[in-house]
């Protein structure tokens, strides 16, 4: 651990790095390309002309209600937007967490967002049916989402409170509290899987593997707006995080309100990742990999890393979901597995390419 808690990579003179505008342009291009790929690919054959016509009809209010239009508007489009928001939110949160903990191993899961959501979802799936037999009817729509969101916020607050000491929030303490509480939540989830019936077990497993399959307009718009607000708030963290990278004491001397930055970064992550995880289940590795990839090509400046990670995360989730939807059609692969399968080799490739900088 001690070796890992270093500062970010320092800029060595002469190394070629992408500038802010080029990262933005490349990122926007990548997101657009993934959106195009993801919108045109699917088990239900809808050709590109149909998609353009449908979008035009949507804009001009002339939807005819053909099966292609219904599938695209009710199923594929919300799914694309959910993938966009989820990937962007996870990437951005990953950048914030790695900046805050000054630790390349940090990811949003560290502050308990994912384990809290998983535990609460498990409670909803297993105990919900025990004490509220009518719940399966509404389960999977709002009960489960609300429970998971509440769970992620509750566990994050708990970890935050545990990390308080006289000098404010201690990041090292938070890391340890996070590991401990995550283990506790894992044990709780393990106990729930022991209690669960066969079908509840499948529901929990399905939820843990993550999927964009449950995308509906109401939930998509909610997640989308939360991620958008979180993104705006995250941009105010970039400068303070750059200074904190030099060390907390140094940052305080330089007039940065470290405590406020920490609270803000944690709140943003908890809200965005909590909302995302509650709707999609666990989508792993996006938050861990995206900031690293951006740092490797563009350096450690958070003003680039945060938006860059958001764009890369969005592209990664959209592409992984395209594969999830089409590889074994008409069935579907679990997305959480694919983000790792798609993301990790890409990450390793980058590591080899830029091994001098790590």
């Amino acid at each position: 651990m001690a070796a890992a808690v270093g500062g970010p990579v320092t800029d060595t003179p002469g190394s070629r790095r992408l500038s802010f505008p080029s990262v933005m342009w490349l990122g926007a291009g990548l997101v657009l390309a993934s959106l195009l790929v993801a919108s045109a690919r699917g088990a239900y054959a809808i050709d590109f002309a149909d998609i353009l016509k449908t979008l035009w009809a949507l804009a001009s209010g002339g939807i005819e209600g053909t099966p292609e239009q219904l599938v695209f508007l009710n199923i594929r489009l919300p799914r694309l937007l959910l993938g966009l928001a989820a990937g962007a939110g996870l990437g951005m949160a990953g950048a914030l967490m790695q900046g805050l903990f000054r630790n390349p191993l940090a990811d949003p899961g560290l502050i308990g967002v994912s384990s809290g959501a998983a535990l609460a979802a498990g409670i909803a799936i297993v105990l919900g049916t025990l004490y509220f037999p009518e719940m399966p009817r509404s389960l999977g729509s709002w009960t489960l989402v609300a429970m998971a969101f509440g769970g992620s916020l509750a566990v994050t607050v708990l970890i935050y409170l545990l990390a308080q000491s006289e000098g404010g929030t201690r990041v090292g303490l938070m890391l340890l509290a996070g590991v401990a509480i995550n283990a506790l939540a894992g044990a709780g989830l393990g106990y729930l899987t022991f209690l669960a019936s066969d079908e509840q077990l499948r529901s929990i497993q399905f939820w843990l593997l993550g999927s964009l399959g449950g995308a509906r307009w109401a939930s998509v718009l909610l997640v989308f707006s939360i991620v958008l607000i979180a993104g705006c708030a995250a941009s105010t963290c970039a400068r303070p995080l750059n200074v904190i990278a030099l060390g907390e004491a140094q940052a305080v001397l330089m007039g940065v309100d470290v405590e406020r930055t920490k609270r803000r970064a944690i709140a943003i992550t908890a809200l965005a990742v909590g909302a995302i995880t509650a709707t999609t289940g666990m989508i792993g590795f996006v938050g861990l990999l995206s900031p690293h990839c951006i740092r490797l090509v563009a350096g450690p400046d958070h003003r680039i890393v945060i938006p860059g990670s958001a764009m890369l995360g969005a592209a990664l989730v959209l592409l992984a979901d395209s594969v999830a939807r089409t590889a074994v059609q008409p069935a579907e692969l679990p997305l959480g597995v694919l983000t790792a399968f798609v993301g990790v080799p890409f990450f390793l490739l980058l590591l080899r390419q830029f091994r001098g900088r790590v």
Partner: protein
């Protein structure tokens, strides 16, 4: 001259191609207007489709649809609890028929919003469950008359089987059902398909006082004192054969162990609650009596 022959050849090819296309498309069109396309989710529902002889309308099944063998060749929409809306819609079904186990609920909503009829049969491990499945497939396939005929035939068979079982009241075997597909075998309590099957076949489920499945422990086994162990053929295979199955220490303290009284049947047949139920109960009752 040369040019005109080439043009003629091209024209011939074009006409032939168009005719072939038309011939290929025409019957398809005719069929889609009369016979609804079905996706079935759940092994027993798929069995009903084949029992009704309407498998031509079947465009997809889930991974639990393993019987009859032909069902294995249909496009698979995944496990019944992890359906995908777009994948399912790509088969362009008119109706999706399943049990209430099918899900996730959001995907079912998406299917409904795309104009697909979704019919879910409540599974309560009763003969009425089988009747509901047949009625649901009959409605979905627009073959209600055939469904009623099948229903009447099966009802009659069911009455005969129940009568046969009732006459064999002399000795009610005390049965324990073991679900042993994984590393830690579980036993069936109340409100399980296995419990219902034991009762249908004239036996007594020795595990009482809890619902669903529970891990089996040596003490509970000894206290329950089953005469016969019932399990699935798949479970025996998963444990590595009958000898390995009996080698489990929990079983050593049961009366069934001394007589090596073991009955096993195909899992889908035993707890599927499909159209094979009367025959299954008949076979199970005979096996339990003989064990």
């Amino acid at each position: 001259m040369k040019h005109s022959t080439r043009r003629d050849t091209l024209r011939f090819i074009a006409t032939a191609a168009a005719a072939t296309c038309a011939a290929a498309v025409w019957p398809l069109r005719a069929q889609t207007t009369t016979a609804p396309r079905l996706v079935t989710v759940g092994g027993a529902i798929t069995e009903v489709v084949y029992a009704l002889g309407v498998e031509a309308q079947l465009v997809g099944t889930d991974t639990t649809s393993l019987y009859p063998a032909a069902a294995l060749k249909t496009p698979k929409v995944g496990y019944l609890r992890t359906l995908s809306a777009e994948g399912l819609l790509s088969l362009r079904p008119d109706a999706v028929i399943g049990t209430t186990e099918a899900g996730p609920p959001v995907v079912l909503d998406q299917l409904r919003s795309a104009g697909v009829k979704v019919e879910l049969v409540v599974a309560d491990h009763s003969w009425a469950e089988v009747q509901r499945k047949i009625a649901a497939v009959g409605r979905g396939a627009a073959r209600e008359t055939q469904a009623r005929a099948l229903q009447a035939r099966l009802d009659a068979d069911w009455a005969v089987v129940q009568n046969e079982v009732a006459q064999r009241t002399a000795r009610k075997p005390r049965v324990l059902f073991i679900l042993a597909h994984g590393a830690s075998p579980q036993v069936a309590g109340q409100k399980t398909a296995a419990d219902a099957m034991i009762r249908f076949a004239g036996g007594i489920n020795v595990m009482s006082g809890f619902d669903g499945y529970r891990p089996m422990t040596a003490e509970a086994m000894a206290a329950a004192a089953p005469d016969v162990i019932l399990t699935s053929t798949q479970g025996i295979e998963a444990q590595g054969g009958i000898d390995k199955f009996w080698a489990r220490p929990e079983l050593a303290l049961t009366p069934a162990f001394k007589r090596r009284a073991l009955v096993h049947m195909d899992a889908l047949e035993l707890i599927g609650f499909g159209p094979r139920l009367p025959g299954t109960v008949r076979v199970l009752a005979q096996k339990l009596a003989a064990a």
